[in-house]
């Protein structure tokens, strides 16, 4: 049995926490995370020779050659626009449709409700590539191959389970009495939903939308198989520069900048909403 040393008395001041090493760990993680990206961005601003040289060059004269090449000779901005349209539209549709579905799952008690929500979740469990061929055939039959509506439709369907699952939880956190109160005050159900529940849900919906947007923007597998020229989005377009024997590293770097910059800017701008949305329901009044 351990004995307690009773001769020890308290020091005059509370012990000082020495947590310096935590910062060392954080800095190390940051370096490991950001250095490769920094290097890719730098490569994007090099000329062909500097990018291809064996010894890494930290000091170089920046040039926009690679961007010029991509934008004016390869017309990558059309891919950029495709990506933008597909990401925005599929986000809009999946969040709008998913919102009502989540509301129904959160608010109404019907037979098989739990089965429905589990079924929705299983849709995300399956690796999407498993249904690549069937979807290709379906798209071919419906003449949706290489069209923007086709991609939008597919992404909307792909993101719906995620939206439904995220939002169901958040809707459950909003007490029903808000709607009831509005209905007693004279609103119809839909007015109560629109004027009371939706404003309260806005942070959560925004956060979900940001996630869906990122997923849609980065989707690669289906975009590669289902598009060729008209509807090609950024990820497959960039893929073209990273295969082959003779990779132009500065062009690849510039392409990476083009595909990641919008997302990074977007998330930086929306950071506040993202965090408040994700933590909603955790901080309760």
């Amino acid at each position: 049995m351990a004995t307690i040393d009773t001769t020890i008395t308290s020091p005059d001041a509370p012990p000082v926490q020495r947590n310096g090493w935590v910062y060392a760990v954080i800095i190390a993680v940051c370096v490991v995370n950001f250095l490769p990206y920094l290097w890719v961005v730098m490569t994007g601003f090099m000329d062909g020779a500097a990018a291809a040289s064996r010894a890494p060059q930290w000091i170089f004269t920046p040039t926009l050659d690679a961007f010029r090449y991509l934008i004016f000779e390869k017309g990558i901005m059309s891919n950029f626009m495709n990506s933008l349209i597909v990401a925005l539209c599929s986000t809009f549709f999946s969040v709008t449709i998913g919102m009502f579905c989540a509301y129904a799952l959160a608010r109404y008690d019907f037979i098989g409700r739990d089965d429905v929500s589990f079924w929705v979740l299983t849709n995300r469990m399956m690796p999407p590539v498993a249904v690549l061929i069937p979807i290709f055939v379906i798209f071919q039959t419906l003449k949706l191959l290489d069209t923007l509506p086709g991609l939008i439709l597919l992404y909307t369907a792909m993101q719906l389970p995620f939206v439904v699952w995220m939002l169901t939880g958040y809707f459950r956190d909003i007490p029903r009495r808000y709607e009831e109160s509005a209905m007693v005050d004279g609103d119809t159900w839909f007015q109560a939903f629109r004027k009371v529940t939706l404003p309260l849900m806005m942070p959560s919906i925004t956060a979900t939308a940001i996630f869906v947007m990122i997923l849609s923007w980065n989707e690669f597998a289906f975009a590669t198989f289902l598009t060729s020229t008209n509807a090609k989005t950024m990820p497959p377009a960039i893929m073209a520069y990273s295969i082959g024997a003779d990779i132009e590293w500065n062009v690849l770097g510039a392409a990476v900048v083009l595909i990641t910059a919008p997302l990074i800017l977007f998330v930086l701008v929306m950071q506040r909403q993202l965090i408040s949305g994700l933590s909603q329901g955790v901080v309760k009044k």
Partner: protein, 383 residues
């Protein structure tokens, strides 16, 4: 402003009957309380009046109009929810103005009305704040203001004071009662707090397990409870309820409680036909204020007891006495019992006031005999 009629109201959730055969007639301008323990169906009843829950069967009429299955917005009611139901994304002004905006009033009229109500509820300073910035007492006021701002036929309140501390609750009781009488709108108030119901109500409906036990004025509920449950639910401290057996003593009927027997008033025994219940097991009820405490057992205080615990509440002393296995709480004024011992175990004596003894049926809980001194209310009867 209108009267409210409920007939044969019933609500089932699956196999569970939450509200069973509720019949109420509430007159114009009356302040009526639904009182009962949690899960007794009082909130469900209120929600059915509001239209937030649809009855399984029955009929609800507001001002003679059948509203049984109407949506809430067609009923013209105002409601305060238990946790207020204020919109946290709107200012207090927005919250109070909301029901008016929904009805499409113009901005000036809204501002006037909200201003007037805010003045009544003394929340003018808080109008531009968000609900998050308010204290519980202020939130309460905003919620009530939101109800008052409407020209509703009926006001409904679902345990609106349960989140307030005791002191605020005391203030709000008086204020709410005053406002209700000033505005004069028929109001139904749900609570599990018997003190709230007793102090504010015109009439009280006591509910248990989905059924109405009694619908009467607070005084009648207190003095002439229909069942043992009503008797013990209302009043603080609770009525003492003792198992007893009626038997014939020397010259009078006695209620034998085991360690001691209580002599019953002969006139009362005759009036309630208790003689024929000789030998029956019954339940005897007596309120703490009708048990007097003395130092020595004798003529005035026939029952010898021992002090189990002593609880001074300031103006009054609560003596919890024990005689054998029977425990009796008494309530006496501090001055009256100043001379008595206050340490646990002190030998004391008590006396039951024969004019304030109740007898209940042990099987169905019904009151067999009301206290001799209690009087039925001359005012309109219960449903």
């Amino acid at each position: 402003m209108a009267d409210l009629q409920i007939a044969g109201l019933m609500k089932q959730f699956g196999g569970f009957t939450a509200v069973n055969d509720v019949n109420i007639t509430v007159h114009d301008g009356e302040f009526v309380f639904l009182l009962g323990p949690s899960g007794c169906g009082k909130t469900t009843t209120l929600r059915m009046i509001a239209g937030l829950e649809m009855p399984t069967s029955g009929r609800i009429e507001i001002a003679g109009r059948n509203v049984t299955f109407l949506r809430p917005r067609h009923r013209n009611i105002g409601m305060v929810f238990q946790d207020y139901g204020l919109y946290r994304h709107m200012t207090v002004f927005g919250n109070i103005a909301y029901p008016l905006e929904v009805r499409g009033l113009d901005k000036r009229a809204i501002a006037d009305k909200v201003g007037a109500v805010a003045k009544t509820m003394q929340i003018t300073d808080a109008l531009q704040k968000k609900p998050d910035q308010l204290s519980a007492g202020q939130l309460q006021r905003v919620a009530i203001a939101r109800m008052l701002v409407r020209d509703a036929d009926v006001f409904l309140m679902d345990e609106p004071m349960s989140h307030l501390d005791a002191q605020l609750r005391g203030q709000m009781r008086a204020e709410l009662r005053h406002i209700q009488k000033t505005v004069g709108v028929t109001t139904i108030f749900v609570t599990h707090d018997q003190l709230e119901a007793m102090t504010m109500a015109d009439r009280i409906i006591v509910m248990k397990d989905g059924r109405m036990l009694q619908f009467a004025t607070p005084r009648e509920i207190f003095e002439r409870p229909a069942t043992e449950f009503v008797a013990s639910f209302v009043g603080e401290p609770q009525m003492n309820i003792l198992d007893c057996t009626l038997r014939r003593g020397d010259g009078a009927m006695l209620a034998d409680c085991g360690p001691f027997a209580v002599t019953l008033d002969a006139g009362w025994v005759r009036a309630n036909g208790l003689a024929k219940r000789d030998g029956q097991k019954l339940r005897l009820g007596i309120r703490p204020e009708h048990v007097s405490v003395g130092r020595d057992a004798g003529e005035t205080h026939p029952v010898a007891t021992e002090l189990y615990s002593f609880e001074p509440t300031g103006a009054e002393n609560l003596y919890v006495l024990r005689s054998g296995s029977v425990q009796v709480t008494t309530r006496t004024s501090t001055t009256e019992t100043a001379h008595l011992g206050k340490t646990e175990g002190t030998r004391l004596a008590m006396r039951f006031d024969p004019n304030w003894i109740y007898l209940f049926d042990p099987d169905d809980g019904r009151t067999i005999a009301y206290a001799a001194a209690s009087r039925p209310d001359a005012a309109e009867d219960a449903a």
